[in-house]
Amino acid sequence: MSDATVEMKGAAGKPIRGKLSRDDIIMRGSMLVIGLYLLITMVFPLYAMLSKSFSTYMFDLSAYEVQVSDEGGATFSEPVTFADLNSTLNVVTEGDLNAGSDGRLGVTQFFPDFSFRSPVNYRIRNTSDTGRFLVGSTLNDTTNWVELDSNTFRRVQLRPVESRGLDNFRAYFGTPALSNSIKNSVMIATISTLITVFLAFWFAYALNRSCMRFKGFFRLVAMAPILVPSLLPGIALVYLFGNQGMLKELLFGASIYGPIGIIIGSVFFTFPHAFLIISTALSISDARLYEASVVLRGSPWRTFWTVTIPGARYGLVSAAFVVFNLVITDFGLPKVIGGQFNVLAVDIYKQVIGQQNFEMGAVVSVVLILPAIVAFTIDRFVQSKQVALLSARSVPYAPSPNTKLDWTLFGFSSLIAVFIVGILGVCQFAALVKFWPYDLSFSLNNYQFDRMDGGGWGSYYNSIKLALLTAVIGTAVIFFGAYLVEKSNGFRTGRTIFQMFAMLPMAIPGMVLGLSYIFFFNNPSNPFYFIYGTMAILVVSTVTHFYTVSHLTATTALQQMDREFESVSASLKQPTLKLFSRVTVPVSMPAILDISIYLFVNAMTTVSAVVFLYSPKTSLASIAVLNMDDAGDIAPAAAMGMMIFYTNTAARIFHLIASRGILQRTQAWRSR
């Protein structure tokens, strides 16, 4: 329908322009609304952050002119700039001229004879329209002369001018204390990835390829870490190996505060993610390949390397990048147990919350985005390859008993289970003990959150509210958005852009998202300024943070649906939205429930994005764990962490029962 068609072979007459049906208009309108939502909640904030990282502030002494009067106060000297004055006096060095966005520079230092009691008058003006200075709190940005007595002149402060450039990045890479974090983060992420993928592979192997017992139990245990915030294993490790730890001797004098602690904790919280991916890869292997290998007299060892590993290689690579990404972007764990060991995610927090240096926070964010985007891109590429492995004629592999192998794998899996349950058990123990290690009697004192910092029980209820709102609103927005992308007609450019927006959040670390929200929303001239500091911004940020995985789940479910439903519905002259509610939603109910529980659990445990965005009124349980730990109330922090665990467990059980019920009602057609 483009103009180009006319020039091509033969076609005469003017090209046909389709008339849009009411449904088309509704669907395009809705897509525009959700696309706009993603634009405002992600693209604009990220842009604000990026531009912040390039903005530098500097006092420009040559941009101001002053005149000084004689003692009579009426006859003024020739105008001079502060730069002229400074060149003779040297009161301000080059380094002093660098400033933050809030920088102020007093001017009396340029006048050695200055006294606020003297009758001397001063005149000051900007030499250009861009100059700014304050008199008290009044901003002057014109080139008109302002005449002031000396008592007022002492309250004149110069404001820095903003410019764009790479100075922030130069400063960052010129400061080893900061740029060392890159090395640290990459090292931690790499080591954690190797360990996690190795352990998760054998665990998944045991569950999919052996005849060991209690597989259901092991599977359940492996998924438990997903239900707690990433900083919880940090607390457990403090109890186990900290200065007063139960098993401190096992470290032979090494400190748990630092890389060791971060790595152990990272293995704990990334384990289920790696396990899920590798387990899927192992579960779809084709038994016929194993039969072929046996027939060709391949040894088990050879079979393992020529059949098992190649079959699972995409899963392994994908798992590795997912784990790498999770570790390098995680904030909670290194905050709790990192000690003096700096990593990127914590640097952002320190720069922003500790030093109020927003520009430097933005720079670290940009640095952190890069490895995350690389890992994300490779992961997407590998995932797209995985699909081709499954052919309809594959025969599922059924393991046969092998006593020695089965018991070895059982032993290995038990160790993993002990590790996971142990970490959770230690937290629960810590929460219940009165005062470790001096008074080991049990009490519920640590659950009196209202007596601690961190927002008390209120923050726990806030978390539940956030999780519910995120689950309901997020599922609705994300599923409907995915439906529009998948099933609307034409409008190809719009759909491609939307799809890109939907994939972006996965590559954006939570800390970066949170910080970019500060830059974008905490700005009185932004029409959405009003949501800053409310529950709304927490919901919005959490939905955006976890958008991609949910979007992909929805897309996959929708792609499995017959492509012609919409055409049939249109030919029967029924509105598309009727089809959506009568057919699409009921048929996709399993995916919809999966999305909602995913959002709920993540909203309960997330720390990274919301840590910049909560207000005293909207403190959250996960944040409370962080803050209580920070304040030294480690036992209550553990108690709150376990509250999150129990809540998520309850939510999962509820989800299971609810899905059974709903499935029985809406999916009756599935059974023959």
């Binding site: 329908m1 068609t5 091509m8 072979k9 033969g10 076609a11 005469a12 007459g13 003017k14 090209p15 046909i16 322009r17 389709g18 008339k19 849009l20 049906s21 009411r22 449904d23 088309d24 017959d562 012609e564 439903f565 055409s567 049939v568 519905s569 249109a570 030919s571 029967l572 002259k573 029924q574 009727k578 009568r582 057919v583 009921p586 048929v587 809406t666 999916q667 009756a668 057609w669 599935r670 023959r672």
Partner: protein, 377 residues
């Protein structure tokens, strides 16, 4: 059956339709008229544009240029929901979570019909497609053929003026397919609804269509009744795509003559000038075996055109149940062999064996001449 189309009574009128997908030309200047009540088949190999044309008629994929008139109304740029048609897809696209009744009733809702009217109409439709008792079941509980009929019932529920069938039978077993062919045809006659069906199965098209539209590379090759298409193909492509055809490189003689090798044979009249390279073509079952007892006892075996009779060697024989397929050798065909289908009786009476010599005739009324060009795969 030959339906003559009167220009004024045409129900669906397609004029100069073009369709591009990017730079790919999917339909090239397609014009076609379909009369009211007709069943027309779009037939062609995959990628020939038949489905594109159907989707343009439905408004699902709008054409780039050209117009479509339905019942005298220009629907060229209307979205599907504002056109008047029912459609059955290859996948049937039955709503899996709605019962059969609900599926059929889907298009009847919100049309001002009362609940009892709707359930009456649904019962009527289910009876019409021969599945009166299946209303409470879900689609997954029915066989493929039953699902197909439900899809049909759903498509005709609102009595649309036009019924579009997109490869409706290709997902079914061979036997069910043959059975449903007749059912659909009967139903279409009973309702008198103008129907367009897309298929790549020539047998299906020959059995069902009032008229066949043969398409290739986005162009209509020929439009005609099944017998016309079969007996008088207008191009080598059509000749080869519908049924089977021996293709013999030859040179044209005067009209009514072709030269194969050194032999001049009588043929149907053609438009080629003397000496032009052509393809001489004849269907395997049009080749006449000659010799004592080739005809049924008592009938006299006469050669109609002497110049068209040749002696060949039977190289290979293949028994195909209803007839024998023989590969015949003769110097004039060079390396190629002529394929001929002989009846079982003829083979028995002529005592044909591999290696036998025999006399055949290429009847002049069946020997055709075509421009040498690509043939269907």
């Amino acid at each position: 059956m030959n339906v003559t189309t009167n220009v004024d009574s045409s129900y669906l009128k397609i004029e100069n339709l073009w369709k591009y997908f990017g730079k790919f030309l999917a339909l090239e200047d397609v014009s076609l008229e379909i009369a009211e009540g007709e069943l027309v088949c779009f037939l062609g190999p995959s990628g020939c544009g038949k489905t594109t044309l159907l989707r343009a008629i439905a408004g699902l994929d709008l054409q780039s240029n050209g117009s479509i008139l339905q019942g005298g109304k220009d629907v060229s740029s209307l979205p599907p929901s504002e056109r008047d048609f029912g459609i059955v897809f290859q996948s049937y696209a039955l709503f899996p979570n709605l019962s059969i009744e609900k599926n059929v009733a889907y298009g009847l809702e919100n049309t001002g019909r009362s609940k009892s009217e709707i359930s009456e109409r649904v019962a009527e439709l289910l009876a019409l497609v021969g599945l009166p008792d299946q209303g409470k079941k879900y689609p997954a509980q029915l066989s493929g053929g039953q699902q197909q009929r439900i899809a049909l019932a759903r498509a005709i529920a609102t009595s649309p003026g036009l019924l579009l069938l997109d490869e409706p039978l290709s997902a079914l077993d061979a036997k069910v397919r043959v059975h449903l062919r007749h059912e659909i045809k009967d139903l279409q006659r009973k309702l008198g609804v103008t129907t367009v069906m897309v298929t790549h199965d020539q047998e299906e098209a020959l059995a069902m269509a009032d008229r066949i539209v043969v398409m290739n590379h986005g162009v209509i090759e020929q439009v005609g009744s099944p017998t016309e298409i079969y007996r008088e193909p207008s191009s080598l492509f059509v000749a080869d795509f519908i049924g089977e055809m021996n293709q013999i490189p030859a040179v044209a003689g005067n009209s009514g003559e072709v030269r194969i090798g050194e032999t001049v044979m009588k043929s149907l009249d053609h438009k080629f000038s003397d000496g032009e390279k052509i393809i001489a073509a004849i269907r395997p079952n049009d080749i006449i075996p000659h010799g004592d007892g080739a005809r049924s006892p008592g009938a006299e075996d006469t050669i109609e055109t002497d110049s068209n009779a040749i002696e060949v060697i039977v190289d290979e024989m293949e028994f195909l149940g209803a007839f024998w397929r023989c590969r015949l050798q003769h110097a004039m065909f060079g390396e190629r062999e002529l394929i001929a289908d002989f009846s079982i009786n003829a083979v028995r009476r002529l005592e044909l064996n591999e290696g036998s010599k025999m006399l055949i005739e290429l009847p002049k009324g069946r020997l055709m001449a075509f421009t040498p060009s690509e043939a269907a795969a």
